[in-house]
Symmetry: C2
Subunit: 237 residues, 2 copies
């Protein structure tokens, strides 16, 4: 029996913001802690989305690849998908949908998973390019991100809501990735409009936050908490 | 086999700062996740310290009581004690000892447990008084805390180091509680000087953060992240 009331995260957004892109956990190990999730790939080589126990990379060229178990990731969040509530929505902008979810459910202080399967009248995403050492900061990388857009596209959104107290550990608020059914478009979501689809929510009673305790760069890193919030805004929107 | 590389926390310091003192997890359940730890008691009825699988309350009158399994706590942190390193120290002020530990070990970005068994030439502690609803804020309560002091006293310190990124989830830096061998003095440590003793450290690769997901006051609470840091300084020192 899998624990469906727990969200598992390897690494933190803060260390990614600082430019620690070295992969520190294998995809095989990650998927032992969840069958749905999001993240990035070692060397920041694109966006990651996991569903049905498989992890996919969306590269900065827009290519979609299934990741093998040996690929290492620096930052990823997963859970075992078993939603508490599923609601049909039609013709709604992403930002409005997200507001409505927080009004409908008392989840503002919890981590919760969100999965949306449906048709999107608009989907706008980004992906980041593979980096090499010495790594630039995340804001420098996202300033040159690739952006993709599609209309009337079928696919799945996977992501999380992070309560604001946990800003820096994750990205406070909604953080969503997308993959099309045709496996030809996806990435970190910038904007979307849902034509119609099923929205599933799964609140978690626990966060298991796992650290790359063997990674020297992480152990020596010095997070600038004061400027972290501003940098997250620049990098994640 | 217990997981000794994980720290388990129920509740967050942030919600305690906001005045959410209602007990939301039983001591019996808490001790399933660790045999050493610290915390507080429902209604903020004193300081809590756990060792060897038993939890003790130090009341604002300075009385020490073993807590039964049915007592509820709003905020507590525990782990299964199995230190990675143990070092003998002599004649050192607490603040100097803590600086030295961070210089000796690369643990600044990790949660780690600290247990000190020895003789203390000086021990200064505080405890807080039981509150009733409507609860005042933690800074209001600690402004009227009871303080205790002792010289040349044998006992045990139990506590944690929290990396600065996790300020608000816990108290960033060292957060230590004390209980004397004679069970007649203890509480949240304000200051100490170690005459001689054994310092044990246990770094954790994971934090399991558990939320009181059934508690209405928690679900509705609105943490003021901006002023949180200042309030923690006032309440925890």
């Amino acid at each position: 029996m899998h624990e469906t009331n727990k969200i598992y995260q390897h690494g933190t957004l803060a260390t990614l913001i600082e430019g620690l892109y070295e992969g520190t956990l294998s995809v095989g190990e990650l998927l032992k802690h969840g069958d749905y999730g999001i993240g990035t790939v070692g060397d920041l080589d694109g966006e990651m989305i996991a569903m049905d126990g498989k992890a996919f990379q969306i590269t900065s060229e827009g290519q979609v690849n299934q990741l093998t178990d040996d690929v290492l990731v620096p930052f990823a969040t997963v859970h075992f998908h078993q939603p508490d509530v599923s609601i049909q929505f039609e013709n709604v902008a992403g930002s409005i949908l997200e507001e409505q979810l927080l009004e409908l459910y008392p989840y503002q202080n919890l981590f919760f998973g969100i999965v949306i399967k449906g048709t999107f009248s608009k989907m706008s995403t980004r992906s980041v390019a593979k980096q090499s050492k010495p790594y630039p900061t995340l804001t420098a990388v996202t300033a040159e991100q690739s952006e993709f857009s599609a209309e009337h596209i079928d696919g799945t959104i996977v992501g999380y809501f992070t309560p604001k107290l946990f800003q820096g550990i994750g990205a406070a608020g909604f953080h969503l990735h997308f993959l099309s059914d045709e496996m030809d478009m996806g990435g970190h979501i910038l904007d979307y409009h849902l034509e119609n689809g099923m929205v599933s929510l799964q609140p978690f009673s626990s966060l298991e936050q796992h650290f790359p305790i063997e990674n020297d760069a992480f152990l020596k890193s010095n997070v600038n908490v004061a400027k972290l919030h501003d940098e997250i805004k620049l990098a994640e929107n």
